[in-house]
């Protein structure tokens, strides 16, 4: 039992605060960790990275090695990285980098350091912030409430099939596809079968979390030529398990639900603003005016919501 949420604003605004509220209202669904995927201002050049180092005593060496690796790939830091740390062993970072010569090739190189430092999102606008702890604790530590953007996802995790570690928190980035993030409520029962197939194609997974697989699976289907809507629909019959997941890119948010109708999703659409969550009480936290709730609680459902006048490719 996890809690998931999504939010789309009709105009750029303080999306971070809404996502924190959506997850705070669902903290009882999973208190192990909380995470947010926030789509902020879109860049024409450069990527923003979010990630984690596992031992803060190695921070200086980590940063030197990481920067060298950027230079090896024709990239570099555009400003000093922001480091977030407290008494815990791990630290988190945010950095803006120049376009590498080849994004996927650079991500592959960066993953050679993943036993020490892990890139958890890469995008023109996407930033994934995740950590152990409640929505309020993660929001305070990473200043999430002040973050501005158009849309985003949230997740409260009750760990079931993998460890409670900061990097096993959701959302997951669809490594190495920029600006794609996922949150998931459920269990994928053919995880190892799909993971092996995708690894044979060259994809890498940095956690044992089944949700990481869905992000890559959907992106791989799209790389092979499917539209998002087709990929979402195909996932219902291809991936085994009970699930409701939401996947986001720079243009909007989509969702898919399994064949067994086990995991709920409720949505309020009001004046171009959209709130989605596992529970009705969460969407009512951010939409306080009287509004009808749409329950997507049937089996084998998908949906797509575009941001502003953008349309998600069907």
């Amino acid at each position: 039992m996890c809690g998931i949420a999504g939010r789309i604003l009709s105009a750029p605004g303080v999306i971070g605060n809404d996502l924190v509220e959506l997850m705070d209202a669902q903290e009882h669904r999973g208190a192990d960790s909380t995470g947010f995927a926030i789509y902020g201002p879109q860049r024409d050049y450069g990527y923003v990275l979010r990630g984690m180092g596992f031992d803060k005593s190695q921070l200086d060496q980590d940063m030197r090695d990481f920067e060298n690796l950027l230079h090896d790939n024709g990239s570099g830091l555009m400003s000093d990285p922001t480091i977030i740390r407290n008494e815990e062993r791990h630290y988190c970072f945010r950095m803006e980098i120049e376009d590498p010569d080849d994004l996927a090739g650079w991500v592959q190189d960066a993953d050679t350091l993943s036993d020490r430092i892990e890139v958890q999102s890469c995008g023109r606008s996407l930033e994934i912030i995740k950590d152990t702890g409640s929505a309020a604790a993660v929001a305070d530590k990473h200043h999430v409430r002040d973050m501005v953007g158009t849309h985003g996802l949230g997740h409260a995790r009750l760990a079931t099939e993998s460890s409670v570690l900061p990097n096993a928190s959701h959302p997951f980035w669809a490594r190495p596809f920029s600006d794609v993030a996922i949150v998931h409520n459920g269990q994928i029962t053919d995880y190892f079968t799909w993971r092996e197939k995708l690894e044979r194609q060259g994809y890498r997974f940095l956690t044992g979390n089944d949700s990481e697989l869905i992000a890559v699976w959907v992106s791989d289907q799209m790389k092979a030529g499917l539209g998002l809507e087709q990929a979402l629909r195909k996932s219902i019959t291809s991936i085994d398990g009970v699930f409701t997941y939401m996947i986001a890119n720079a243009d909007g948010i989509g969702f898919a639900k399994d064949r067994f109708a086990m995991k709920p999703l409720v949505v309020i659409e009001r004046g171009g603003d959209i709130a989605m969550a596992t529970e009705e009480q969460a969407v009512r936290r951010v939409v306080t005016e009287e509004a009808d709730v749409i329950n997507h609680d049937g089996p084998s459902l998908i949906g797509l919501w575009g941001v502003g006048n953008r349309r998600l490719a069907a």
Partner: protein, 230 residues
Amino acid sequence: MSEVVVDVGQRYIKEVNIEIMEAANAGKPIRVVNTLSRHNLGIGLPDGAQISFEGSVGYYCGGLNTGATIEIERNCGWALGEGMSKGLITVGERAGMSCGAAMIGGTIHVKGDAGPRCGVAMKGGNIVVEGKIGYQSGFMAHAGRIIALGGAGESCADALWEGEVWVAGDVDSLGVDVNVVEPAAEEVAEVDAILKPLGLVDSSRNWRKMISGQRLWYFESRDASAWLMI
């Protein structure tokens, strides 16, 4: 008797329920406001209690009801009236998943649609849904009746035991081990007797009654392939 108004907001639900229970035990009618779709409201209410919830409620509202009359203005979340034994719960709009799960008596009346697995594992009582019942409604219902006036979703009455699912309207698909039978006149009269106090009797309805095919009652694992649904 003067009405007691209970304000929920973001208060601790245990504290709200204590306030509700004190008013119920004093025999006072209760109006609950500012509900914000919160969970676990009005659990274990006693016989004779009268309570209304303004707006929508979350999961498990009215669970373990032992005879209260509960009215919910708009929607309810999962497992409305779970395990209730007596009383009446009315939902003004929509009920979420597992409405009436494992209830053993009393009546639930939903004026809109009900979500998946309505009446799952129910052991008695009646669930009346004016709209459509969702996916796999009646799943493993041991006893009692689910009465859907607006049709049923996929996998209706899946793995039913001795419960009954009555549907007026379209059924998207049947679950496993279901027999559809024409109800006898005296059975229709029994259902009309349930509907009458709710003002829902309509003699023009074409009922379909779903009961267990009883083949799963004697299920043997070597026959499992015959029951694969997917």
